[in-house]
Symmetry: C2
Subunit: 207 residues, 2 copies
């Protein structure tokens, strides 16, 4: 049935212009949104906060402020400042009363994760947190294949120390064994607390 | 016996000018060093880290960076940046596997601690952390009398909510009852983990 306007004029359905659809390069539904790993983790942390499941925040970048201008009737402007070396990992917070601490890194490599992505201060901090029985890990992303792994800090530290033997990276084949592969979801995008639940269960069963 | 120089000239003991000694206003030995509460807490955190007792860090001030200059052969200079509102408290970390979270504030008042020292985002964050069973508290300093108290977040939140009834501050007399008075020490300067030990023991005995 054709419906016309009361004035008899023909009604033409307006053409809606859609943005051209991007070809997705792999099977996961929520990937390739042009989001960085950091964005995805921050978004996941917001999801977990809203769900009242955990309180995890990214730490701000440490800055050495040298000169600040205080203009009248407007916000203070930092005119000279420098980036400082961080002394911790990027993320920490509380989950089930326990202390969570992690770092997130990505690589364009396909077959192994280069250890040069980590810095000594992060490694030292992980050592310190493990001594206090914190739950420490890293989230590793292979950007070209979009694979995600959670690796416990104690495993990372083993690889870090083995660098002296010449091995400067962790092969994907090993991450498949000693790490936990994660898959993108909707909310949270990176469901890393599901792995943390497994880690907690394991440590409880070891007591 | 008077000792003269070999040339027979009289030796006069040089007069050493000492800086005028400040009158100390109270009995604690390590107070009145001109250190701010923040300095004292940072110093305490370094002590605890060295003693391998806890890993607690102050979070950097969040900054919105607008313009960065990358000069040749020298460090990047931030040329324009703005202070951002924090979304958490200032300090967090791990102790005995548990998550610790706190804020430190000082007042020049002598008889009560004004609640206006706290901001809504800090209160909200403490609520969130308590839901995840974090150990949350505030360290309060009265700078004119140099008294220090640790107050559990659940107590602070009660006072915060009672503000609607007109009470805008916490009297020292109440802090003496519901808080924990702390005394300056050498290393750590503020031995707040001793109070945290008591809090943990209490919560364990309540299970």
């Amino acid at each position: 049935m054709v419906v016309n306007y009361p004035n008899g004029k023909h009604y033409a359905k307006p053409e809606i212009k859609r943005p051209p659809q991007k070809k997705t390069r792999n099977l996961t539904t929520f990937s390739n949104r042009g989001m960085s790993l950091e964005d995805d983790i921050n978004d996941s942390n917001i999801s977990y906060l809203r769900q009242e499941r955990a309180v995890i925040h990214k730490k701000p970048t440490p800055i050495q402020i040298v000169n600040v201008d205080y203009p009248k009737r407007s916000a203070a402007v930092i005119k000279e400042a420098y980036f400082r070396q961080a002394s911790t990992t990027d993320y920490n917070g509380v989950y089930r009363g326990l202390y969570l601490d992690f770092e997130a890194k990505e690589t364009k490599n396909k077959l192994s994760f280069p250890l040069k992505n980590f810095h000594q201060h992060q490694i030292t901090h992980m050592h310190q947190c493990l001594k206090q029985k914190g739950i420490c890990f890293v989230i590793l992303r292979f950007s070209s294949t979009n694979r995600l792994f959670l690796l416990e800090a104690k495993q990372l530290l083993t690889y870090w120390e083995k660098q002296a033997d010449g091995r400067k990276s962790i092969p994907v084949s090993e991450l498949e064994k000693v790490g936990y592969e994660m898959y993108y979801g909707f909310s949270p995008r990176i469901p890393y607390l599901d792995v943390v639940d497994q880690l907690i269960d394991q440590s409880l069963s070891n007591i």
